[in-house]
C-alpha cells in the first residue's frame, strides 16, 4: 500500500531482499556445520509466512508457552504471500496459505509437502477437506480449486496432484470459511436473499466487490448465475468466452455507476461499510464482526445460491530440514490440538479438526458458533470483548447449513493470464 515508487525501485528492492536473504542463509548454514553445539542450544524459532487471518499474537504466545517454539510472523497480503514463495523461498520456514494458490506454488518447487503419518490428528481432519463432504455425508459444491482436488501429491518431490489419498499432503488444513455478501440491514430495509442484489440498480453507487481479480470475478459469476443470464460449468475455471461474458456484465455495471469502490484490504471493507459508503458488498466474516462491534448493524447475509468458500493450511519451505522440520511438525501438531482451533472458531472461522476444538470450547460457545443455536450466554470475542448478547443466532446458522451450502471455492483459473488482462480492461472501461 505504501509503495509509491515505480518499477526500477521494485526490482531493486527485490534484488536487495534476495541478496540479504541469501547472505542470511549462508551465515545460518555456516553456523550449523561449524558449531553443532551452538545449534543445539539455540531457541526454537520458526519464521511463519501468511496473511493476517491466522497471525494472532495470542496464538504465538500460547504456542511458545506450550511447545517452546517461537513464531516470528511475516504478515503480508494474499498476493504477496504467493509472490514471496515464488521469489524468496528461503525467507520463511512455515507457510500458511490458501489452497487455490497451490496451482502456482507446487509447480514452482519451492514448497515441501508434509507427511500425513507425522500429523497426529490427520485422520480426524474434517471430511470437508479430504472427501469434499460434511461429517454427515452431504456433498459440498466442488467448483473452483476445492481443497480435496489439490490436497495430495503423488510423491515427495512430485509436482502432480494425486487423485487418491497419499501420505504427501500439500497443505495440512487449518482454517476455512464460507464467504457471502455483507449488508447494512438498517439502510437496505428489506430482506436480501440472492447474489443478484449485488448488481441491483436499487443499490447504484452503494455496492462494492473485492479487488482481487480471481476472487472478484467469482463473486460476479455468482451474480450472473443468480440473475439467470448464464450457467457456468465451473465458475472457478471459466473459458475465455465465459470470462468475456462475465466481464461484460461487470463492465456495464461499473459504467452505470453501480460500484462505490473496490476494496482489497480488510480495513478498507470495514471502513466502506461502517461509513455507509456501501450498503452491500462482498466481505469476510471477521470484517462483519468488526463493523458490528462498532455498534453499526451489519449482517453476513446467507444467500440462496450458496457461499463462495476458501480454505488454508500449512506446509514448509523447501529449505527446511532436520531440526527445523521437526519443529514444524511439532508446531502443526500443536495447532491442530485444539486451542488454536477453538480460537479460530470463536472468530467465526472454522477449524480443521472439529473434535479437538470442541474440547477447548464451552458447550454454549460450541452451540452458538457451530450448531446455529441461540446463544445461552453473551458471546465474547477471543480478546474478551462482547460480540453478541444472549439469545442471538449466528448469521447463516450451523456449520452444516453454512458449509453444506458452499457453491464454489476460491480458484486460480487455467485462463488466469487472460482473465488478468480482461480485469485491467474492466478497470479502464
Amino acid at each position: 500500500m505504501t509503495e509509491d515508487t515505480t518499477k526500477p525501485g521494485l526490482s531493486r528492492r527485490t534484488l536487495l531482499k534476495g541478496a540479504a536473504a541469501g547472505a542470511g542463509l549462508a551465515a545460518g548454514s555456516g553456523a550449523i556445520t561449524g558449531f553443532p553445539y551452538v545449534m543445539s542450544q539455540e531457541a526454537k524459532v520458526l519464521r511463519y509466512l501468511g496473511t493476517a487471518v491466522n497471525a494472532g499474537d495470542e496464538i504465538s504466545k500460547k504456542c511458545l508457552a506450550d511447545t517452546g517454539i517461537k513464531i516470528e510472523y511475516i504478515t503480508v497480503t494474499t498476493d504477496d504471500v504467493t509472490k514471496r514463495v515464488v521469489t524468496q523461498p528461503n525467507s520463511f520456514d512455515v507457510l500458511d496459505t490458501e489452497y487455490f494458490s497451490l496451482k502456482k506454488l507446487v509447480p514452482s518447487g519451492n514448497i515441501l509437502p508434509l507427511d500425513a503419518k507425522k500429523i497426529k490428528e490427520f485422520n480426524n481432519i474434517t471430511p470437508v477437506f479430504t472427501k469434499g463432504q460434511l461429517p454427515s455425508g452431504k456433498k459440498i459444491g466442488d467448483q473452483g480449486t476445492a481443497p480435496w482436488k489439490v490436497l495430495y501429491l503423488e510423491g515427495k518431490d512430485s509436482k502432480t496432484f494425486a487423485k487418491s489419498p497419499t501420505e504427501f499432503v500439500t497443505l495440512i488444513p487449518t482454517v476455512y470459511n464460507a464467504d457471502t455478501l455483507g449488508i447494512r440491514p438498517d439502510l437496505i430495509k428489506r430482506p436480501i436473499s440472492s447474489w443478484a442484489e449485488l448488481l441491483n440498480p436499487e443499490f447504484k453507487g452503494k455496492a462494492s466487490i473485492l479487488n482481487i481479480p480471481s476472487i472478484g470475478i467469482m463473486d460476479a459469476a455468482m451474480v450472473v448465475e443468480a440473475t439467470g443470464q448464464y450457467k457456468y460449468a465451473d465458475k472457478g475455471n471459466m473459458t475465455k468466452a465465459e470470462i468475456d461474458l462475465t466481464m461484460k456484465i461487470l463492465t456495464e455495471a461499473k459504467k452505470s455507476g453501480q460500484f462505490r469502490a473496490f476494496w482489497k484490504d480488510f480495513n478498507e471493507s470495514v471502513n466502506l461499510m461502517a461509513s455507509g459508503e456501501t450498503v452491500i458488498q462482498s466481505m469476510w466474516s471477521p470484517a462483519v464482526t468488526k463493523v458490528r462491534s462498532m455498534g453499526i448493524p451489519c449482517v453476513f447475509q446467507p444467500l440462496k445460491e450458496g457461499y463462495r468458500s476458501w480454505a488454508s493450511g500449512f506446509c514448509v519451505s523447501k529449505g527446511v530440514s532436520g531440526k527445523k522440520l521437526e519443529w514444524a511438525y511439532e508446531f502443526v501438531n500443536w495447532f491442530l490440538s485444539g486451542w488454536a482451533g477453538a480460537y479460530l472458531n470463536r472468530q467465526g472461522y472454522y477449524s480443521a479438526v472439529l473434535s479437538t476444538a470442541k474440547a477447548n470450547m464451552d458447550p454454549y460457545e460450541w452451540a452458538y458458533w457451530m450448531e446455529g443455536k441461540p446463544a445461552e450466554k453473551d458471546i465474547k470475542a477471543p480478546d474478551g470483548s462482547l460480540l453478541e448478547k444472549a439469545g442471538a443466532i449466528r448469521d447463516g446458522g450451523s456449520y452444516d447449513d453454512r458449509m453444506g451450502s458452499v457453491a464454489c471455492w476460491n480458484a486460480v483459473m487455467d485462463e488466469n493470464d487472460y482473465m488478468v488482462r480482461k480485469w485491467n480492461e474492466f478497470i479502464a472501461a
Binding site: K7, P8, L10, K104, A261, W263, N271, E277, N416, R421
Partner: protein, 295 residues
C-alpha cells in the same frame, strides 16, 4: 602536455566515481534487468528466459482490431495523461502563486523559511493515514456533504466528492504542490531585484513585469517542478487507487495487477512503456529550457 593532464583526469574520474557507481548499481543495472525481463516469457509461477515479445504484444492487444474504439492500454494512458495534466496545471498555478508570494511579498528570511516549512504539512502524516482521513471529510456522510446539506445548498449528498477523478486530482494536488513551490521559489529568490525595479522604471505594468521578467527567469524552477510532479503522477497507483475507489485506470495500476498475478515479464513490459512515455515528456520539457545551464 599529455603527461601533465593524466593525473588531473584521474582525480576527476575518482571524484565522479562514487556517484557513477551508485548510479550504475542502483539505476542502470536494475533498469537493464527490467528491460531484459520484459522480453522474457512466463507461465503461472515462473519467468522463462527465452526471447519473446509477448509482454508487449498482449499489452497492445486489440489496439487495431477494436478501432475506432480505444484499446485498454490507450484508454489507460489517456486517463493517466489527463489526470497528470490536470494535476500539473493546478499545482503549477498554486505553486507559482505561493512561490511568488514567498519570494516577493515576504521580506524577512525567517518568515520565508517558516512559511515554506508550513508547506510541508501534508508530509507530516503517512500516505495511508491521509487517505483514510479523506473518507470522513468527503464521504457520503462526511463533513463537507453534511455541511452543504445543512446550509441548504444541496438536497442530497454529492456522490462525486469521493472515489472520483475529482478526489484523485484533489489528493494529488494536496500532496505534490510542494514539489512545485520549492524549485520555483528557488529560482525566484535568485532574480535580481534591480531588474524588477528597472522594469518598473521603464514603465512596465505589474503584469508586463510578470510575463516579461519574472516568468522567463523562473523558467528553470517551473521546468524542474513540472518534472517532479509529472514523473510522480505518471507512476502513481496508490493515490489513484484509494481516491478513485480502485475504479480509475492508471499506468501504474496495470503494472501492479500484473505483478500481483506473478506475471513479471508482462509487468516489466508495461514498466518499460511507462518509462518510455515519461521519458518523452521529460525530453520535451527539457527542450524548453536547458536545466543544466540555468542552475
Amino acid at each position: 602536455m599529455a603527461l601533465r593532464d593524466r593525473p588531473s583526469q584521474f582525480v576527476a574520474w575518482l571524484q565522479a566515481g562514487p556517484m557513477m557507481l551508485v548510479f550504475l548499481v542502483f539505476f542502470l543495472v536494475p533498469l537493464a534487468f527490467v528491460i531484459i525481463v520484459s522480453f522474457w516469457d512466463y507461465n503461472e509461477y515462473e519467468m522463462i528466459p527465452s526471447f519473446t515479445t509477448r509482454g508487449y504484444v498482449e499489452t497492445f492487444e486489440g489496439c487495431l482490431a477494436q478501432l475506432p474504439e480505444l484499446c485498454t492500454i490507450l484508454k489507460t494512458y489517456l486517463k493517466t495523461l489527463k489526470l497528470c495534466f490536470l494535476v500539473w496545471l493546478i499545482t503549477l498555478v498554486i505553486g507559482f502563486t505561493v512561490a511568488y508570494f514567498l519570494a516577493f511579498h515576504i521580506r524577512s528570511k525567517t518568515w520565508q523559511i517558516a512559511l515554506s516549512l508550513i508547506c510541508t504539512i501534508p508530509f507530516w502524516t503517512s500516505n495511508v493515514i491521509r487517505m483514510i482521513a479523506w473518507i470522513p471529510l468527503l464521504g457520503r456522510n462526511g463533513l463537507v456533504n453534511s455541511g452543504l446539506v445543512k446550509a441548504g445548498m444541496i438536497d442530497k449528498p454529492l456522490e462525486w466528492l469521493l472515489y472520483s477523478e475529482f478526489a484523485v486530482v484533489l489528493a494529488l494536488v494536496h500532496l505534490f504542490t510542494f514539489f512545485m513551490v520549492v524549485p520555483i521559489f528557488n529560482s525566484m529568490i535568485r532574480i535580481d531585484k534591480r531588474l524588477i525595479e528597472a522594469a518598473y522604471d521603464a514603465g512596465a505594468t505589474g503584469f508586463q513585469t510578470l510575463t516579461n521578467v519574472i516568468i522567463p527567469l523562473a523558467k528553470p524552477g517551473i521546468v524542474i517542478g513540472s518534472i517532479f510532479v509529472i514523473t510522480i503522477v505518471m507512476g502513481d497507483f496508490v493515490t489513484i487507487g484509494v481516491m478513485g475507489g480502485q475504479q480509475i485506470a492508471a499506468a501504474g495500476k496495470i503494472i501492479e495487477t500484473r505483478l500481483n498475478a506473478l506475471q513479471f515479464p508482462a509487468a516489466a513490459a508495461n514498466a518499460v512503456i511507462l518509462l518510455g512515455i515519461t521519458f518523452m515528456i521529460i525530453a520535451m520539457l527539457s527542450r524548453l529550457v536547458d536545466v543544466r545551464k540555468e542552475l
